[in-house]
């Protein structure tokens, strides 16, 4: 047996660049994970379908605009519809502290604010991923 953690990194919504998402992607790779990188402008439907086909253990969502609340929640909702809520959903990007409780209530397990060391994110994933 030779299990690897598989992570889908996605940036839903129409805004901006994916620099932050790339940093996380590389950190996950360097921690020995397999990162499925999907690029910009993904809809929640695309992200969830990708995660199912790739049998992902983790979905990492990145957002730079105010649209995160709706988009992140929708991803969690779709996962529940597909009986796939065992996939660990985490978020990052420019997300005001005030928005975090609502996101966590929607099913995002953890939201990382800008400046969180990547090491902390990796450790969180390793500790919380469903084995």
């Amino acid at each position: 047996m030779n299990k690897k953690i598989r992570v889908v990194i996605a940036k839903p919504g129409l805004d901006g660049h994916d620099r932050g998402a790339k940093v996380i992607a590389r950190a996950c790779r360097d921690a020995g994970m397999e990162v499925i990188y999907t690029g910009l402008r993904q809809t929640p439907e695309q992200i969830v379908e990708t995660a199912l086909q790739e049998d992902a253990d983790v979905i990492g969502l990145s957002s730079l605009s105010g649209a995160h609340e709706h988009l992140f929640s929708r991803v969690c909702e779709l996962l529940r519809e597909k009986n796939a809520e065992d996939i660990l959903v985490i978020g990052g990007g420019v997300i005001p502290e005030d928005d975090i409780p609502a996101l966590e209530k929607a099913g995002v397990k953890k939201v990382f604010t800008p400046g969180t060391p990547t090491k902390e994110i990796i450790e969180y994933i390793k500790a919380n991923v469903k084995k």
Binding site: R26, C28, Q46
Partner: protein, 314 residues
């Protein structure tokens, strides 16, 4: 296990995704399931897409699959292999970036795989992933190889038709031709034909093909494509279909598949033997033999013979 088998027979994508993971992780259960469902394999037509990194393999696959979906409404599986870092064991699998619109198509299933230390352009489990997608009813299966150049040998042993994607202006084109990867191509796609140097590259490939014996039954066609602007894709798909028809009519498809299965059996045997050799108890014996060789009590050839006898003895 019964549940999984029924789900797979019904074409369940989630069950397929999980089974591929099990095969990748080398879980025994995966192989037990594949044994039970082996009768359901062999229906899909497998197309390999190989060529250097950045030549447009993913973009071209995306366009070919869209064409198949639109024109023939057949189901398509895609397996995209990217390199695993030998240092960390991690990988960034980025081929889906070029296939974003396909992820919501009901009739398409895309799976990204890391090589996980396997050389030869595919991962060890790629072959199993092909079977899984075959079982859930995919009519065509595309395999995009790593594309590291000269070691793309696995794909010919896995695919029915292999497309070699080349691009003009990658430096010394002739060098690539000499390197001996050209033999694997059933079809050449000269991609990025929107750029300069296309005709020169086509001429070079033609020249190289002219060196082949004249009576070879299949002469690989060269198709100019521009994947980003969806040009030449219909022609490339036609070439694939022509090759498929040729293989079927000449019965070469059967010959080729039997030869591939032979390779597959050999691989499984090799792995079983390797795992026998590396078992703990044999490890200790090996260590002792090495010490004996060091002290010149025996030579390494005799030591190897001893080890083989131990394995044969069970």
């Amino acid at each position: 296990m019964v549940d999984i088998i029924e789900s797979l027979k019904a074409g369940d994508k989630r069950a397929a995704a999980r089974l591929i993971t099990k095969a990748e992780n080398n879980e025994k259960e995966a192989f037990e399931i594949l044994k039970k469902l082996y009768d359901n394999t062999g229906n899909a037509y497998v197309i390999g897409i190989t060529g250097p990194p950045g030549s447009g393999k993913s973009t071209l696959t995306d366009k070919l699959v869209k064409e198949i979906r639109k024109k023939y409404n057949k189901k398509v599986g895609i397996i995209a292999v990217d390199p695993t870092s030998p240092f960390t064991g991690g990988a960034i699998l980025g081929d889906r970036i070029r296939m974003q619109d396909l992820s919501l198509d009901e009739g398409v299933f895309i799976r990204s795989m890391g090589t996980r230390g396997h050389l030869g352009g595919l991962s060890k489990a790629t072959n199993y992933a092909v079977k899984v997608l075959d079982i859930i009813g995919m009519d065509y299966i595309f395999i995009e190889t790593v594309g590291v150049g000269q070691s793309e040998v696995d794909i010919v042993k896995t695919a029915d038709t292999t497309v070699l994607v080349m691009v003009p202006g990658l430096g010394d084109d002739i060098q690539a031709i000499k390197a001996g990867i050209m033999e694997i191509a059933d079809i050449f796609a000269v991609n990025k034909a929107d750029r300069g140097g296309t005709d020169r590259l086509v001429a070079e490939i033609e020249m190289m093909l002219d060196l082949n014996p004249e009576n070879t039954p299949w002469k690989p066609p060269i198709v100019k494509t521009s994947a980003v602007s969806n040009k030449g894709v219909t022609e490339l798909l036609d070439a694939i279909k022509t090759h498929k028809k040729f293989l079927k009519e000449t019965d070469l498809l059967k010959t080729k598949r039997i030869s591939n299965i032979e390779t597959e059996i050999l691989k499984i045997v090799k792995e079983e033997l390797m795992s026998l050799i590396t078992q703990k108890e044999n490890h200790d014996k090996r260590k002792r033999l090495a010490v004996d060789v060091y002290h010149k009590k025996i030579d390494p050839f005799t030591a190897a013979d001893c080890l083989i006898k131990i394995i044969k003895g069970g």
